[in-house]
Amino acid sequence: MNGLTRQGLARMVAAHLPRDSFVNLGIGAPTAVANHMAPDSGIILHSENGVLHMGAAPPPGEEDWDLINAGKAPITLAEGGAFFDSALAFAMMRGGHLDVAVLGAFQVSERGDLANWSTGRDEGEPPAIGGAIDLAVGAKSIWIMMEHVARDGAPRIVETCTFPLTAARVVARIFTTLAIVEVRPQGLVASALIEGASLADVQAVTGAPLAAADRIATIRPDGSVVP
């Protein structure tokens, strides 16, 4: 059971974003989703440091260090983009104006609790939270993208998060290297599985019960999904 690559995972998430939607891609792995969005997707990307409608990365040598994303990498502005202060940037988030936020995670619980800012084991390292928590609380739909299991093999989808929570009951969908899992009131539902894997295979590396969707789609190795 080979999981998706980072690229494949990013491609899968990108293909699921609604056309013309307002989306925030969290720092880290979610940032790569932008590279896989269709040119005509119409998606407008928000960055919590005060940018709406981010464009592609600038060519080397043409960086403007006053024009960066939330990960502090240089960006460009697409036509029709706008700048604003952080108060308005976070009003957009907390006020429910973003359609989707795609975030990384350490753990997601079966009821949609999210732990993505601290493993609680950072001895001597200062904690840092940034804007992740505001996104998690505010966006209309929270999508998680992550490796299905941690480096040590421990499940990241769990019954109860053991790491400090970012926010409770907020996650709507989980995209992993092995599956797409919907967080429903009655529990977790697998709606897509990596090619060659059964629900039992994926359940074996998942820390909370997975129900099967009425139809389970197949995730190809390149991240495309077929019904």
């Binding site: 013309d20 307002f22 005509d40 119409g42 407008i44 928000h46 709406l52 409608h53 502005l77 697409a78 036509e79 029709g80 983009g81 706008a82 700048f83 604003f84 108060a87 308005l88 976070f90 009003a91 957009m92 988030m93 907390r94 006020g95 429910g96 104006h97 973003l98 609380v137 505010g138």
Partner: protein, 220 residues
């Protein structure tokens, strides 16, 4: 590509129903979406809750809504000099919630920004404190003021691009820019619409994420 331009005021107000809550931008005539006001009056609906700084004077403004008796409740800071509103207020057929202007705009901002409320020093020891929770912070008293949101916000801009980014003309920005953050459907009446990229990204006041409908209605 996202395109929020609609043909006219009727399309901008489509879907507004009896009993809904509506914010109307403007301070006096500045920022007042006059074409939208006329279009709403033509809908034949009733029992609106209206959030607005003023209540019209006597012309092609909110007076029309009171003349047509389509408002059940007005949330307002300065309903003075409004003959049609006053007539309806006198006969008891419209309810008034009087809110100090700064508190009004801050409650709307809270609604748009996802806050549960704000603590304001305004109104402590006055009639405006009635029914509100009093909270002491650092030795000073404040009132807990609750957020305001609406089903529709109607505002007047100057130029909008087809994505929905909006600029305003001079002091017409007033409540418009804040109301545009706090409603489920935000409709903006502008002088003209332009292509994305035509507006200075540093001078856009209402970014397109807040805007659902835009139409051109040249100023008289």
């Amino acid at each position: 590509m996202r395109n929020v331009v609609v043909p006219d005021a009727a399309a901008a107000v489509a879907g507004l129903r009896d009993g809904q809550t509506v914010m109307v931008g403007g301070f006096g005539g500045a920022g007042l979406p006059r074409a939208i006001i006329v279009a709403v009056a033509a809908l034949g609906i009733r029992d609106l809750t209206v959030i607005s700084n003023n209540a019209g004077i006597a012309g092609d403004d909110l007076s029309l809504w009171f003349r047509e008796r389509i408002v059940r409740k007005l949330v307002c800071s300065y309903p003075r000099g409004a003959a049609d509103f006053t007539a309806q207020y006198r006969d008891g057929s419209v309810e008034l919630e009087l809110v100090p202007q700064g508190t009004l705009v801050e409650r709307i901002r809270a609604g748009g920004a996802g806050l549960g409320g704000i603590l304001s020093p305004v109104g402590v020891d006055t009639v405006f404190a009635q029914g509100k929770q009093r909270v002491a912070v650092d030795g000073r008293d404040y009132l807990l003021e609750l957020p305001l949101r609406a089903d529709f916000a109607f505002v007047r801009g100057r130029v909008a691009d087809t994505l929905g980014n909006v600029t305003y003309n001079k002091a017409a920005r007033n409540h418009c820019a804040v109301m545009a953050t706090a409603a489920d459907i935000v409709a903006v009446e502008v002088d003209r619409t332009v292509a994305p990229g035509a507006l200075d990204p540093e001078a856009i006041v209402t970014p397109c994420i807040f805007v659902d409908r835009v139409f051109a209605s040249p100023a008289p």
